[in-house]
Symmetry: C2
Subunit: 227 residues, 2 copies
């Protein structure tokens, strides 16, 4: 059996469904849990889609992950959170996270592309009612933005908790999609005099700008210098 | 009338609708065309939402802008492009573009936020059938990724054009939303010993990686050194 990869345990990957098997470029899809978690944990802004009056709505929002659950939050007055209700059937959503890694410039316009890693989660979001789960979710949201920050800020008080709605989305119907590598030009285009290659793209953090009214002696925390 | 801003001409801004007036943080919304165009032109990846079997789908995809029209493209075999059809009623979509500009770290977990600029476009996407419009749209898609690149690549041939479907979405029901500035902590939290401030976030391009088989003498084009 040399050369044959070990069979993937069902526990290691999400089960593909009709919605998570792409019609195009299926070789770029993955259901590997570790890969999905890594892509999710590198980000903090997702695009959350839901249906309102039969039409799609896509909004950028923060998210956090705790194990096999994602959390998003918002004001209790916001549309999707009101729609999800507290005791209702939940809100069908599609939550997508995308990282751009490179611009792929081919000699032909047709083969231009992007190197990227994305995760798409389909499911039904439910409002979190358990106070402990709500706190855990809010900590995860803050720690997704800056790991270590939740412990170094004042936790939400009762009034703030009451004003904040949290939605839970289980990682169940999930796929990742990736493009990596160089240019795929047609053989007959290789003799064209155009530059071709990949321009790497990264997220870069600038120098943190402290508020003017910090308490004396409060310096830049280690989790920020590590960014 | 000193101190009163000049009335906004309808030509300068999009007309707000029920869908584009946010229920929360309405002060962060804008309908200014120049601002919307600037946010759109700074990006090249959008998140496109549509409804499939009653459930939302959100996919990352490239886009381009030509005046008051956005274009997305894909294989003629892809789901949303098939659904949009060539002669049908079109595909209701929501197209969202988001730029993250900073991490806003407040002393309280509750007031943590993100500085961002986003544009949300609601509408019905239609397949482009006019060959000239299709070529213009594909050039715009390439030039959104790297301005100046479309003219320095081989244009699509007849076979490639036939394999590519392009969707048009008019900029009509559109809003921008922005958060800028520093931390908004509660007055009673200012005496807490936590660091607070904003961490700037930018998109950074790395050194372009040329394909190994470029023609001799083909150097890095000026539009890439300018990135």
């Amino acid at each position: 059996m040399q050369g044959t990869p070990p069979p993937t345990s069902p526990a290691d990957s999400y089960t593909p469904t009709d919605r998570t098997v792409p019609t195009r470029s299926a070789h770029r899809a993955s259901y590997d849990k570790e890969l999905v978690h890594a892509i999710l944990d590198e980000g903090y802004v997702c695009h959350l889609g839901y249906v309102r009056d039969g039409a799609p709505v896509v909004l950028p929002t923060l998210y956090g992950r705790v194990g096999e659950r994602l959390y998003v939050h918002g004001s209790t007055g916001s549309r999707p959170l009101r729609t999800a209700g507290q005791a209702g059937p939940g809100l069908p959503v599609c939550l997508t996270v995308t990282h751009v890694d490179g611009l792929v410039l081919a000699r032909s316009a047709f083969h231009h592309s992007i190197n990227y890693r994305s995760v798409v989660v389909h499911g039904v979001a439910h409002q979190v009612t358990d106070p402990e789960e709500k706190r855990t979710a809010l900590d995860a949201l803050v720690d997704h933005v800056v790991p270590g920050r939740a412990a170094d800020s004042r936790p939400a008080n009762a009034k703030e908790l009451a004003a904040t709605a949290v939605l839970r989305l289980d990682l169940d119907e999930v796929s990742a999609k990736l493009r990596t590598g160089g240019v795929n030009d047609e053989p007959e285009d290789l003799s064209l005099p155009h530059w071709a290659g990949v321009v790497p793209v990264r997220r870069q953090y600038g120098t943190p700008l402290a508020e003017a009214d910090l308490l004396p002696g409060v310096g830049l925390p280690g989790y920020l210098t590590a960014l």
